[in-house]
Structures are given as C-alpha cells and as structure tokens.
C-alpha cells in the first residue's frame, strides 16, 4: 500500500507529511513530525492524553486517521505558548502545582484552553465535565480544576478593557 500525502496546518505553519492510510494523527504528530508533546496513554480515546484541536474542536488524535487531516488545521500543546510566553492555563498549572508526573498535562492544557476559548467563566462542575475525557491518576483533579478556574479568572481580567 502506498503512502498518502497530506497537506495540513499545524500550529499555524503549513505542514506536509506522508502516512499510511490507517496511521493515526497522533502517530504522525509524534513519529513523523516530532511533536511528542501529545501523549498516547490508551490509543482508544479513553484517556485524553493525545488531545489536539482539529479545525477548532478538541479531539483525541489517536482516533483521527492521519489522512483525515488533509486541508485541516491542527493545534497541539506545542503551539499553546506564544514563543516563550506561557498561556495563562500553563502558568496556572505551574503556580497551582496542577501536575505531578506531567504525562497527562499536555492533554489537560489543550482541553482546558479549548474550554476557556469558548466559555470564559465556567463553573467548577462545567470544568469537571469538560475535562472528564482527560484521565489524571496523580492529582485527584483538585489542583487541576483550581488551576483552570484561576486561568479563567485571569483571562477574564485580561479581556476586560481597562
């Protein structure tokens, strides 16, 4: 089976890759493009460690076939910070110690950012349900939820005109 050529946009940059017809987007991001920030915890869409944003919606990249990305826009954890300036979600994860091993962290940050991009003032319950597709085994979620709420508050402040 010959490989498929796919043209796409990753973190704002045009990107082309060759892939097997059934390669996952996650495999291509990690193994072909070297973007190893997205993690594989299960390969079945049950842990969220591979969360990326595809055409504006967060998805498990392990459950996207790489050829499906043709012409689409992909945002990964590697594109969340602007240069070396961390996004408020990233900054709050650090300040609130919302990570222990850190393996699930990229998926949580991409998912949390996706939430705050559409809902600047989520309740704790909304945060918890939004993040229910991201498994964390270290933290018990407490500090993660607090970090996301704190990031939301900071983003609201930034958005409020002085």
């Amino acid at each position: 089976m010959s490989k498929i050529r796919v043209s796409t946009t990753v973190n704002g940059d045009a990107a082309e890759f060759l892939c097997e017809p059934t390669s996952s987007l996650l495999d291509v991001l990690r193994d072909t493009m070297g973007l190893t920030g997205s993690k594989e915890g299960c390969g079945s869409g049950d842990c969220g460690a591979c969360t990326v944003v595809l055409d504006g919606e967060m998805v498990c990249s392990c459950l996207v076939l790489a050829p499906e990305a043709e012409g689409r826009t992909i945002a990964t954890i590697e594109g969340v910070a602007e240069g070396s300036v961390l996004h408020p979600v990233q900054q709050k994860f650090l300040e609130h110690a919302a990570l222990q091993c850190g393996f699930c962290t990229p998926g949580f940050i991409v998912a949390a950012k996706a939430l705050l991009d559409r809902n600047p003032d989520p309740t704790e319950s909304e945060v918890r349900y939004w993040l229910a597709g991201n498994l964390c085994r270290c933290t018990g979620y407490d500090k993660i939820v607090r970090a996301v709420m704190a990031a939301a508050a900071e983003l609201r402040q930034e958005r409020t005109p002085a």
């Binding site: 079945s44 869409g45 919606e57 998805v59 076939l65 050829p67 499906e68 991201n134």
Partner: protein, 289 residues
C-alpha cells in the same frame, strides 16, 4: 497482513460505489468506534470510506418543521443547534452522553447506530423520537425506522454498499417532550448499563395521548416497548400508570450478565430510569398534571 485503503469521496454515489466494490469496506464517520476496533485488531476492513467530505453530510437541516441530521454530524454540533435542542432535548442529551467532549466532537449518531451496540446512548432516544434513517445504496435511497437498523450486537440490516446518509425526525408534535437517561458507574466516559429513551405527547389537560419508550442494553438490540407506552396513554402519568409502565419495561427487558451489569440490576434500572425519563419528558411537554 491485508492493508487498509483510505478514500474520501466527494459524493454519495462515489461512496456507494467504493463500499459496494469491497464488502469489507467500512464507512468512516467520527471513527470513535471504527478506529478503536481497527486498532484493537477486531476489524481490518479493506478500505475506510470517509464520509465527511461529502457535501451535505454534516450539519442539522430543517425541512419545514422537521429536522434532518447529516450522518457525519458530530454529537456536539447537535448541542450547538438551539432549535434542535429545544425540539428534541432528549436526543441531543443522549448523543452528548457518549464518551467525552473529545469523543463527541467526532462521534456521530449515525455511527453510534451503525456500530450496533445494544448500549448505544443515542439509539433509544432516536427510536423514542420516531426517527428514520435515509439509506443510500447501489439501488438508490430508502428510508427505514431507526430501530430496524441494528439486528444483533455489531450487525446491521444494511446491505453491502449501503450506508446511512441522514437521520430524519418527524415534526415535533404539539405537547410533545422527550428525554433520555442512562445508568453508568461513572458520571462520564462510560457505556450505558441501561438506557431509557422516552417521547410522549400530553394534551391540554395533561393526559398522555401518545408515547414511545425505548430501552438500551437490556437486549441484543434497542427495545421499543409498546406495552409500556400503552400503560401511559390515556393517563395523567399518575403513580399507577407509571408503575404499570415500569413493570412493562421490566417485562420487556431481557438483558445479559456481563462486565457492565447484572441481569437483575439491569431490569430494575430499566424500570427506574424509564419512570424518571417519563417525568422529565412530561415536564418538557409542559404537563399541567
């Protein structure tokens, strides 16, 4: 090892032709079941036919006062459609219990249906709503009720080359309301141990004039329980009617013991969830009782 081809046809006709050419080919909607099964080695289709590039396959459409949902429409897009959510909240909620947000951004109701799992969350709600599928195939298009699609776990009534292109809803009846509830050990990221979809119509006096009650995970396919509906019709959904309805639901439940639940628990929950769903549907129907 046979390798799998990927095709992204632009028309229904091309998709039909590709599916018809290879009986092992599988349509790809959201991929949240198909890709998992391929990854686990349970399925190795000769080709996957991505339906998402076909015009009109994604999105909620209105034809008069009836809704039609393209087969490639992800579940979260249903929630974003205010009119659909107002008309069929039970269906929209059911579709948005599947998996996680990430999964629902990909998963489709048509895929949920054609995966033919008895525990599919959106299916009892669709059956209760009286939805029908538009199916495209080598001999053109046909319409069948949703409940006619799954025939056994993992198997559908679709012929080779056929796939669901659209799910159509009947016009929302005046005084109608629907609801779906499921039982799962976790709050999210889970498979229904039991699911109950309900659609009822109440008249101005709060008397139930029509009902459809469908159950998930209590049999090899979704179960439409006519006796349960009959127990409600003509009543004001009083305790006796609800009890009779729950009994009919339990009687119609023929579940199995498996890792997700026991027979006795599933039967008991079918009755409880159906009753709770009826009450939610009634409140949505604007019951005056």
């Amino acid at each position: 090892m046979p390798s799998t081809a990927y095709h992204a046809p632009g028309t229904v006709e091309d998709a039909v032709a590709l599916l018809a050419a290879d009986p092992t080919a599988r349509p790809l909607g959201g991929g949240t079941d198909l890709i998992v099964q391929m990854r686990a080695g349970r399925l190795s289709p000769g080709a996957v036919i991505d339906l998402k590039r076909i015009g009109g396959m994604s999105g909620v459409h209105r034809a008069g006062d009836a809704f039609a949902i393209g087969a490639a429409t992800p579940c979260t897009a249903l929630k974003a459609d205010a009119a659909l959510s107002a008309a069929w909240p039970g269906v929209v909620e059911a579709a948005n219990l599947i998996g996680s947000v990430q999964v629902r951004n990909r998963a489709t109701m048509a895929g949920n249906l054609c995966n033919a799992s008895p525990a599919a969350d959106s299916v009892p709600a669709l059956v209760a709503a009286g939805a029908v599928c538009v199916i495209a195939g080598p001999s053109g298009q046909r319409e069948v009720p949703v409940e006619a699609i799954p025939v056994s776990p993992g198997k559908t009534s679709l012929a080779p080359g056929e796939f669901v292109v659209e799910i159509r809803f009947p016009p929302k009846p005046a005084g109608g309301g629907d609801a779906y509830l499921r039982s799962t050990p976790r709050t999210e990221m889970d498979i229904a141990v039991v699911g109950a979809g309900v659609s009822i119509v109440l008249d101005g006096e709060g008397i139930c004039t029509a009902a459809r009650i469908a159950l998930g995970a209590v049999g090899p396919t979704v179960v439409l329980v006519e006796d349960a509906a009959a127990a409600l019709v003509g009543s004001k959904l009083d305790d006796d009617a609800l009890a009779a309805m729950s009994q009919a639901v339990q009687a119609a439940s023929n579940p199995i013991d498996d890792k997700r639940g026991t027979v006795s628990y599933r039967k008991a929950m079918a009755g409880v969830l159906a009753r709770r769903a009826v009450l939610i549907a009634a409140s949505r129907a604007g019951a005056k009782a």
